[in-house]
Structures are given as C-alpha cells and as structure tokens.
C-alpha cells in the first residue's frame, strides 16, 4: 500500500508544519507579509460634504453671510476657500471667513454681482436657511507665509480671506491693512476689522475719501514684506504696479484670469506619444485624447471614479473633479472633467 503511506506522510508533515506555523504566528500575528510604506488604504480624503445652511443674513449692503453646519469638518488655514455647489449645479469658490478651528460650521460671505455669471445672484436669491448644500474643500491657494512684515490690501468683499489672517497673526507682528470699498455701508465686517487693526488700518470709502493712496501705504515697508491683496482686478493691478522692491506679492482673484465665463479651448501635448492636440471649448480632454489614443482608460466621465487620472507635466490645471486629494492635484488631473487654466497642458501619455 504505497498510496496509504504517502497519504500518511503528507498528513503528518502538514500537522507538523501547522504546529510550527501556529507558534510563529502567535509570536507576531501579522507574520510573514511585509507592509507598504506609506500605506494607501484608509487615508482620509477630502470629499464632497453635504452641509445644512443655518444662517443666510445680510452683513452689509449687497453682502450676505452664509453659515453651513455639519460635524467633524476638516480644519483649514487662513486664506482657504470652499467650493460651493449651488442647486443649479454651478460651482463657486468663496473664501472662508469664520474660525479655522471650528469643526462644526463654515462661514462664507458673498457680494451680489449684478452683471456676474449668475452664481452670486443664486446665492442671494435662491438659497434659504434650512437648505442642504454640497461643498468641497476646503483648499488653500492663498496661504499666509511667514514674513518679517505684512501689508494687506482688501477691496470690498476681498476682506473675507484677509480677516482670518488678521486674527491668526501673533501679537506684535508688524502689519498694516488698507481696506477699501465703495461706501462704508457696503463694506462687510467693518466693525471687527477696525477693532482688530486699530491704528494699523487705512480705511478708504470711495464716496467719502476717493481713491486709495497706495504710494503712501507702501512707504517704508521693510525688506521681505509679504503683500496680500484680494479685490477687484483694477485694485490688484494698481497694487502690482506700486509694489515696492523686495516685497513679495500674493494675489487672490475672484475669477480665473483667463476666462471669466465658461470654457475656453486649449492645447494638450501628449509628451510620450509626441502629439499635440486641441481641446475645443465644448469638448473634454478625454474626448480629444481618445481620438488620438483610443485605448485610453476612462469610465464614469463625470469625475468621480478616478479611472482617467493622468500625470500632468506642465501647465495650470483647473480641477473640476471631486475625488483627487490636494497632493494628487499638484501633479495629476482627471481628464474627463478637468480642464486647463493656462493655454497649454502637457500630459505624461
């Protein structure tokens, strides 16, 4: 019976191995697999949140402040903004102006732009307390850097990203603020700003004081001063023109510079395939790429599954997905929905 002997031998060997393994595993339960460093699964993601609109109130002429409540909200740094998905589907960015440590609510303020693209009108006229809104972020394109001194220039609603910065600066920091607006009544947070700034504030209401004197503002600023400006295009251009030597400029625009409304066409270079193509205003990068490379992977075409993620080598991306983390956004995009802010993108394809 050689067969029986083999079976007995195998069974015996299996039993012995099992005993030996059991000891080893008891000593260290996760033996013998190595771990990936850093791990990928279970990382916290910034995802779309649905928040309850609990306050919708006028805080100045033509300015409403929104308070959105939730729980366990991500913290943010001064200068950060939130993407607000309006009921019509429009997505608008608003600077956070509440307390960064508050994890139960976000506060933003918005001005009604009469001849705007419709976002602010919707916020003012269609939103009401008790509604649920989808938000994404927060993200920070306008971070407060360390500097020996600061000059802040805020025009009207442009005070919103600046306000949390003023609150966050440690006592004794050398800073000054020019806060301009059409009239005192149209300038939000005036009272808090005056209290925070004291004699460091230059208040310019155009109906009383005329145009701000930027040359005076920039007299005797120390080397390395950080200048932060948020306001209308004209004000930002003026600040750029008056910027003293040795100072660094940080701008936060209300709208992307290149295209104030809708999509624009741009060029995409596929570096590895050595091809360049044009993405028309009414089409997507994915559609254009698939005409050249039909086997390009994609699936949902709505920016949530992540299949079409591609590495971006050059160019400024306008992210329209809601999946990628901030780190991923630096060097990659979902080509099914996201576009270019610049006139040209270079993809690693």
């Amino acid at each position: 019976m050689p067969k029986l002997r083999t079976v007995a031998l195998v069974a015996g060997a299996a039993l012995l191995t099992r005993r030996a393994l059991r000891r080893r595993v008891q000593a260290s339960p996760l033996w013998p697999l190595p771990a990936l460093d850093p791990p990928l699964s279970g990382r916290p993601r910034s995802r779309a949140l649905r928040l309850l609109l609990t306050a919708h109130e006028a805080v100045a002429d033509g300015v409403v402040q929104l308070r959105l409540e939730g729980s366990g909200l991500p913290r943010w740094e001064p200068g950060a903004h939130l993407d607000l998905v309006l009921p019509s589907g429009l997505v608008r960015q608003y600077s956070l102006c509440g307390d960064p440590e508050d994890t139960s609510s976000y506060t933003v303020a918005t001005r009604l732009v009469e001849d705007g693209r419709g976002g602010s009108r919707e916020v003012h006229e269609q939103l009401a307390e008790g509604m649920e809104l989808e938000v994404r972020g927060p993200r920070n394109r306008f971070p407060l850097v360390e500097a020996p001194a600061y000059v802040f220039v805020a025009g009207g609603i442009g005070i919103t990203p600046v306000l949390p910065m003023l609150r966050a600066l440690p006592d004794g920091t050398d800073w000054r603020l020019l806060y301009g607006g059409r009239s005192r009544a149209s300038m939000p947070f005036l009272e808090e700003v005056s209290k925070l700034a004291g004699d460091r504030l230059t208040l310019v209401a155009e109906d009383e004081d005329g145009r701000p004197d930027l040359a005076a503002l920039f007299t005797a600023v120390p080397e390395g001063t950080a200048v932060y400006c948020c306001g209308p295009e004209g004000l930002m251009a003026a600040v750029e023109a008056h910027l003293p030597e040795g100072a660094t400029l940080h701008l936060e625009r209300f709208t992307p510079r290149a295209n104030a409304g809708g999509n624009h066409a741009f060029a995409v270079e596929l570096r590895r395939s050595e091809r360049t193509l044009t993405v028309p205003a009414d089409s997507t990068v994915l559609a254009a790429v698939r005409r050249e490379l039909p086997d390009t992977a994609y699936s949902c075409e709505q920016g949530f599954c992540g299949t079409c993620q591609q590495r971006v080598l050059e160019g400024e991306i306008e992210h329209r997905d809601e999946l990628l983390t901030d780190a991923e956004r630096h060097e990659s995009m979902l080509i099914c929905v996201s576009r270019a802010r610049s006139d040209r993108l270079v993809l690693d394809m």
Binding site: A35, L36, L40, S41, P44, S299, C300, F304, C305, T307
Partner: protein, 298 residues
C-alpha cells in the same frame, strides 16, 4: 452537444455604468450585526481587502484595454472599471470609521496594500514575454476572484437573516449595492479572460492560487479583527463558528461555498449561469445609496 465550451446566458447581459454613491458611517455601531462580533468581523474583512484589491483590478484592466478587439467587450470593461473603482472607494471610507471606534485596521491594510501594489504589481516579472505572461495571469486571477465576489454578492442580496438580526441598514446597503453590482457585471472578468487567453490550464491554476490566497487572507483578517477589537477579550475564530453561522444564514453556508468550486472548474462554466441580473437591478433600483447617486446625476 458540447460541454467543453462556456455557455453564456444572453438574457443576463446588461450595459454597465458606475454609480456615484456615498455612505455616512456616523451611526453605524462597531458590531453592526448586533451581538455577533464573529459575523461582523468576518464580513468586515471585505473592507480590508477590497480597497487595495479593487484598485488593483482597475490598474490591471487599464493595461488590458489595448488588447481588446471586441467593441462590446471593451464597453463592458470600461463600465466594470468604473464600478470597481467606486467599490474600492466606498469600502475605503469605512476604514477611518473603524479607526475612530478604536479598531485601527492600518497594520493589516498596509500589508494588503503591499500585496497588491508590489507582489501583484507590474514589476514582479521582467519586461517582455514574462511581463505579458504575468498580465494574462493577473487577468485570469481577477476572473477567479470575480467568481467569488459574484457568489458573495448573490448571497448578500438573499441574506434575509441579516435583516432579521437587525443589522445596520447603512452597512447592509453598502454590501448589497456592491453585491448587486458584482452580480450585474459578473460575466465581464470571465469574458475578458476568455477573450485575451481562455486557456483551461491557466483558469484552473489561477483558481487554485486565488482560492488559497483568499482563504489565507480572510482567516488572517478575522483573527486580526477579533484580537484587536477593543471591546472583546479573547474569543478565537474557528471553522466551527463559520459552519454554525452558515447554517443560521448570517454567513454563506459552508456547503454552498464548497459546491461553487467545481462549478468554476467546469469546462462549460459561464458566470451568467449563476445569480440573477433581474434581482440585482431591482435592488439597485431601491438601494438608498444608488438612488441618491442617480438623483445627484440627473
């Protein structure tokens, strides 16, 4: 009369699309099958394996797309990829919730990450013919794994005992949404394998690898959870527990699991012979998460 060819059931075929779901886990208790940590953690192992595993499916399938010479199959694979990517994300979001409840899954998931990213990654074999062989081998592995995901999907859609025990509705919705999509797309991985290779030896070989690996990872995951659960002291996982729960209906029956083995190895096997697309589609039409996803799109 031929039993050496796969026989698909055409009526089970359906166009596939990814659904953008989201779940909120705040109200889900640690033991979401009340009073039954063994069942809870046996099913929880899915959250350990699937984020990395389904990410790996997507990674492999992206590389197979250029090999597909059939437009309808390519469309199916595109839909499959999106669904798998969403499954991976949805299970991944349970992990922070486990951590908040004092059960940190990272020691285990970091290993699963290594397993799929490195061991089953692209650089395991040198480029050229070996690398092509390795790609086909992985496609076959996925087909074998999908046999089991479809089996589990069909089981969870019919696991009425979990409802009777008062299992957490959000978790059940995650499992059933996922299970229903697995049933919905159960033929894609097998069709793709048949299309690009289809060798019976490879099917049998990769089944053996996939099955033993799943058993290895699963029992390890259950033991990991039971040992690290802060509310438990000392219960050990055993095969008897599995058998008993299988009889009660809170886990798949042992007999059913064993019977599914020869079916995959049969030469006339085709996934469309098992499970019901109609049932899957009907669950998806009533799943709270899938409904919310549909509302968000339209």
């Amino acid at each position: 009369m031929s039993n050496t060819q796969a026989r698909p059931v055409e009526s089970e075929r359906i166009p596939l699309k990814a659904r953008k779901v989201s779940f909120s886990w705040e109200d889900t208790p640690l033991h979401w099958v009340p009073g039954d940590p063994f069942t809870t953690h046996t099913i929880n192992v899915l959250h350990l394996l699937l984020p990395a595993g389904e990410r790996w499916f997507v990674h492999v399938y992206k590389q197979v797309l250029p090999l597909i010479r059939d437009d309808q199959l390519r469309e199916d694979v595109v839909g499959f990829i999106g669904q798998e990517a969403m499954h991976s994300q949805a299970h991944d979001e349970v992990l922070p919730h486990l951590r908040e409840q004092g059960l940190d899954p990272t020691p285990y998931t970091a290993q699963v990450d290594w397993f799929f990213e490195k061991l089953l990654g692209d650089r395991t074999l040198p480029p050229g013919r070996a690398s092509r062989w390795w790609l086909l081998e992985r496609v076959a592995l996925i087909a074998a794994i999908e046999h089991y995901t479809a089996f589990l999907g069909d089981w969870v859609l019919n696991a009425a005992e979990l409802d009777r025990r008062g299992a957490d509705p959000t978790m059940l919705d995650l499992l059933r949404w996922h299970g229903a999509e697995e049933v919905e797309h159960r033929s894609v991985a097998f069709d793709l394998f048949e299309h690009v290779d289809g060798s019976y030896r490879r099917r049998a070989r990769t089944w053996a690898t996939a099955f033993s690996t799943l058993v290895f990872l699963w029992q390890r995951g259950v033991r990991f959870f039971l040992e690290n659960d802060p509310t438990l002291t000392g219960p050990k996982a055993s095969l008897k527990d599995l058998y008993v729960r299988g009889r009660e209906g809170t886990l798949p029956a042992t007999g059913d699991m064993l019977k599914s083995i020869p079916r995959y190895l049969s030469r006339s096997y085709h996934p469309s012979q098992e499970g019901s697309t109609a049932q899957a589609v009907s669950y998806l039409a009533s799943s709270p998460a899938a409904l919310a996803a549909q509302k968000a799109v339209s």
